[in-house]
Amino acid sequence: MYTIYVSMQALSIKKLTKIYPNGNHALKGINFNVEAGDFYALLGPNGAGKTTAIGIICSLVSKTMGEVEVFGHNMDSDLEAAKSCIGLVPQEINLNLFDTVLNIVVNQAGYYGIERRLALIRAQEYLTELKLWDRRFEKARSLSGGMKRRLMIARALLHKPKLLILDEPTAGVDVEIRRSMWEFLRRINSEGTTIILTTHYLEEAERLCRHLAIIDEGEIIENTRMSIVLRKLQREIFLLSLADPLTETPKILGFEIKLNDPFELEVAIDAEHDLNSLFAILSEQGITAVSLRNKANRLEELFMGIVENKQDNSSSAVASSS
């Protein structure tokens, strides 16, 4: 049975610092908390420090300084209890490719103290759900990339962790499987499992997560609710598919409009305008839009804005100091 942990911190990170032996300052004293039951996105460009942070939380990387608590268990003084709460789906495939699908998940459960009899029951449950049960006696090396990722998810879940950490779980997975994985993750989150997700598909973070932190060059540069971040978006660009072709670009006050082709309009909308007024004016002009989509993912635009802003600020700081 899953338990819902109300108003408790699933993860608390204080002044977490990591300096690698080569001098790389991967984490510069970051702080963040994840509430129990949350679906939390940890975003950032490549090399920002996401995987290092996850590595430290999961005891795969030694920290230089700082504190990590998982459901109130300090990683320094109560490591066994802290580790028991976590399930990890790493970025790199780390399966024993010569072992069978069933052995891989059941053995992992054994390392968490789950008896084999119970592990076999849970293995059937999760492998069926992740569409791997029919391949349970096959060696992991015979699985496709997407199947290997799903196997890593099943492996991480067999001990029913309270905190599931997914480091780019849908990298290289096709759209259909990605969406079914989203559904699956949403369901286990709704059943009480706290989830931390790192991903390069910002659409994924926007659809799944309620909170997010953006990490860049070892520092947290944004840490808030997803809805608050998206509200900061000043301008969105939409693509409208038209029912009938247009020969010239319509002029509408307050909207920047481009005719990409006779059947597609590109409309930039500022925060003070809304879609209703756009549609009303288009309708008045006899233009019918049959569908609408974002040109780029909203979070992606925002993410790029935040990261670029930070880079601009640091370059100007360097320039002014020199």
Binding site: G55, C58, E80, A81, K83, P90, N103, Q108, Y111, G113
Partner: protein, 257 residues
């Protein structure tokens, strides 16, 4: 420490190691049996009769315990070094590192795998030996305990080698340049009393001398060295190597970034 959790973890690890040994039986079990058969044919059957008796036993009988011990040692070492380094190389060692299983359990699980393969191969080689010579075990308790302890020492040594190894070459350097010479010079094929006094003393620095002789004492009732000394030295190595392994894992040397 949660004892139930670690007990289940240990059982899982041992089971995984046994499955591995059986899955790759053509690499783990067959080669030592073939190699030992060749030793018995060449050294025992062909050359042995020309050598004559050694310490009152015919040469075939004399070398049989040493050859059994040699196969136990090399297979225990080989099992742990390849299993643990393989897990490190393919990164599925992370399955253990993220789990709440204690580091001691991880070591004991791998060592148990090494001991089981050592015993399995030891039994096979003993069966092969029985086709060539007659072996009556004089002191069963000493025989079994010495096989167990020696196998533990070399499983732990294999574990330490795997912790430090960064590439596959690193797991063959120690067996080739250290283990094999020590085994061949460890009294498997001769009594150290045949050596000049200086080399007898040098030989006493080789831990394998103690294991082979104590095992030979268990089987044939003869030994070049004091059995109590042999036990002391072997137990000393078990304690020291286990402690080193535990320190290495606790510090994450060669394993955690």
């Amino acid at each position: 420490m949660n004892l139930i959790l670690n007990w289940i973890g240990l059982k899982t690890l041992v089971r995984k190691e046994i499955v591995r040994v059986i899955r790759i039986w053509i690499q783990t079990i067959v080669p030592p049996a073939i190699m030992m058969t060749l030793y018995f044919i060449i050294f025992g059957n062909l050359i042995g009769p020309r050598i004559g008796s050694m310490d009152g036993f015919d040469y075939m009988q004399y070398i049989a315990p040493g050859l059994i011990m040699m196969s136990v040692i090399t297979n225990s070492y080989g099992n742990v070094v390849s299993s643990f380094f393989g897990a490190k190389f393919a990164r599925h060692i992370e399955e253990m590192l993220v789990s709440p299983m204690s580091n001691a359990t991880v070591i004991i699980g791998h060592v148990a795998g090494g001991i089981l393969r050592g015993l399995l191969v030891g039994i096979l080689v003993t069966i092969v030996a029985l086709f060539f010579t007659n072996l009556e075990i004089k002191h069963p308790l000493i025989t079994l305990s010495m096989v167990f302890l020696s196998s533990t020492v070399f499983s732990l040594a294999g574990f330490i080698n795997a912790v430090f190894a960064k590439k596959f070459d690193d797991i063959s350097i120690v067996p080739t340049f250290v283990l094999t010479p020590l085994t061949y010079l460890g009294g498997v094929f001769y009594s150290i009393s045949l050596l000049p006094e200086f080399w007898q003393k040098v030989s006493l620095a080789n831990p394998i001398i103690y294991m082979v002789n104590a095992f030979r004492y268990g089987v044939l009732g003869i030994s070049d060295i004091n059995i109590a000394h042999a036990y002391l030295i072997v137990v000393f190595f078990v304690v020291v190597l286990f402690t080193i392994s535990l320190i290495l894992l606790n510090r994450g040397i060669g394993i955690r970034e």
